[in-house]
């Protein structure tokens, strides 16, 4: 049904991109985009066509700050059952990772989605079960839906859910990187639609294309941006129209809004970004781990700065440089022994570059 790997068309698009004869610096914010770009050798081919694409803060596990890991670690050590996505287990806080807590005997269980975590809470009636909620707008509605459907009283959510537009604003405002275009994430946009990005074109003059995840989707998105740049336009275009609608998914947005309100939080590599975290509304206090376990979480030291020495993950998340620029990449830092979260997560740029070795061509 989805024949979007057609090599001939890919070559044709690449030819068109080269033909525009302009140098482009682009950012995308999605681990799955990065995976497609590296796995199919597109990043290299695009470099040859004068297009430089960086990942930016598009890795939920990577942008989580160590103190949020410390919060869930404190709950793990206090004997709660911790449920989390597999990707979150190895990310280090200031006191180790959930993985290390597990090897010390904490009850940490990997789940595929929040419904599995609620299922565990229903079974383990005498224990308290905390779901470590990580993810952008794609994932946050699933947490919201579970909260709204009245989970059991022994269930808790520790939310680190973040939303993307405020982070994109931060990047545009910081001005460390001059972006010729943004490739917007298809599945975040499935929920929020295309309108929340408009300000980036209007106020910062950045051309944008919402893109799907097949090789041709990404090549086409680059081509559409090149076309905007060439004609002096800056607007939001939608390449992934088979899934993304302008208004997003109104039902999911309503659920999201019912359960969450926005809070200010730092992102790894970034200062505090106003309104960028989704915290539970007070109506859901009894399931809110930060409220019900405030005594346990109080021990977390929010002033500590813990970026590992030599790790440039924070810079990579702001679109500055590539994993290969890090002296530790592939030497001291590998997926088996990750130094920073960009190597831990399957969505992290260091992990993806290491995995595919940047060898394969289209």
């Amino acid at each position: 049904m989805f024949k979007l790997r057609d090599r001939e068309t890919a070559e044709k698009i690449l030819e068109k991109i080269s033909g525009t004869d302009i140098h482009l610096t682009l950012m995308h914010v999605c681990g799955t985009h990065q995976d497609t770009l590296v796995r199919f050798g597109l990043q290299k081919r695009l470099e040859e066509a004068n297009v430089d694409i960086r990942q930016g803060p598009g890795c939920p596990v990577c942008v989580t700050i160590p103190q949020e890991i410390d919060e869930i670690m404190a709950l793990a050590r206090a004997g709660k059952i911790i449920t989390a996505f597999g990707d979150a287990l190895k990310v280090p806080g200031t006191q180790g990772s959930l993985f290390s807590a597990k090897s010390e005997g904490a009850d940490v269980r990997i789940v595929y989605g929040i419904d599995d975590a609620v299922g565990i809470a229903r079974k383990e009636k005498d224990r308290e079960v905390v779901f470590f909620a990580i993810g952008f707008e794609t994932t946050a509605p699933t947490t919201a839906a579970a909260l709204i459907s009245e989970p059991p009283d022994n269930f808790r959510v520790l939310s680190t859910h973040r939303i993307m537009p405020p982070a994109l604003r931060a990047i545009a405002e910081m001005g460390e990187i001059k972006l010729d275009g943004l490739i917007q994430p298809g599945h975040v946009s499935t929920i929020i639609g295309t309108r929340p990005y408009t300000f980036l074109s209007r106020d910062f003059g950045i051309p944008q294309v919402v893109a799907g995840f097949e090789p041709l989707d990404l090549l086409m998105a680059v081509f559409m941006i090149a076309r905007q740049v060439k004609s002096g336009k800056a607007e939001v275009q939608n390449e992934y129209s088979r899934v993304v609608r302008e208004e997003g998914n109104p039902k999911a947005l309503a659920v999201l809004d019912r359960a969450f309100e926005r809070a200010d939080v730092a992102w790894r590599g970034f200062p505090v970004i106003p309104g960028s975290r989704l915290d539970l509304r007070s109506e859901f206090d009894k399931w809110d781990a930060r409220k019900t376990y405030s005594d346990i979480i109080a021990e977390v030291d929010y002033s500590a700065d813990v970026e590992e020495k030599g790790c440039i993950c924070g810079r990579l998340l702001r679109g500055l440089g590539a994993p290969e620029d890090c002296p530790l990449f592939g030497r001291k830092c590998t997926p088996d022994k990750p130094v920073g979260p960009c190597m831990v997560s399957r969505e992290g740029s260091c992990n993806i570059s290491f995995k595919y070795g940047k060898l394969k061509n289209l």
Partner: protein, 81 residues
Amino acid sequence: MCLAIPAKVLEVEGDRAKVDYGGVVREVNVSLIEKPQLGQYVIVHAGYAIQVMDAAEAEETLDLFRQILEFEDSGDERIDA
């Protein structure tokens, strides 16, 4: 983590649906979308359907790409018409 995969709807009952990922059948939560029709493709993330795929647009995507490329071939000055 934003990985989301298309699957075909086989059965719907309340907020739950059975879907087929090209041979593997799983149950997913469909409370975040309007009730899907049998045979439709939904995009599934972390156990929830987050959108119904527009099959017509999906079929036409490649053709659409080719058209855009051909249109370009037919004369550069008309690109932005």
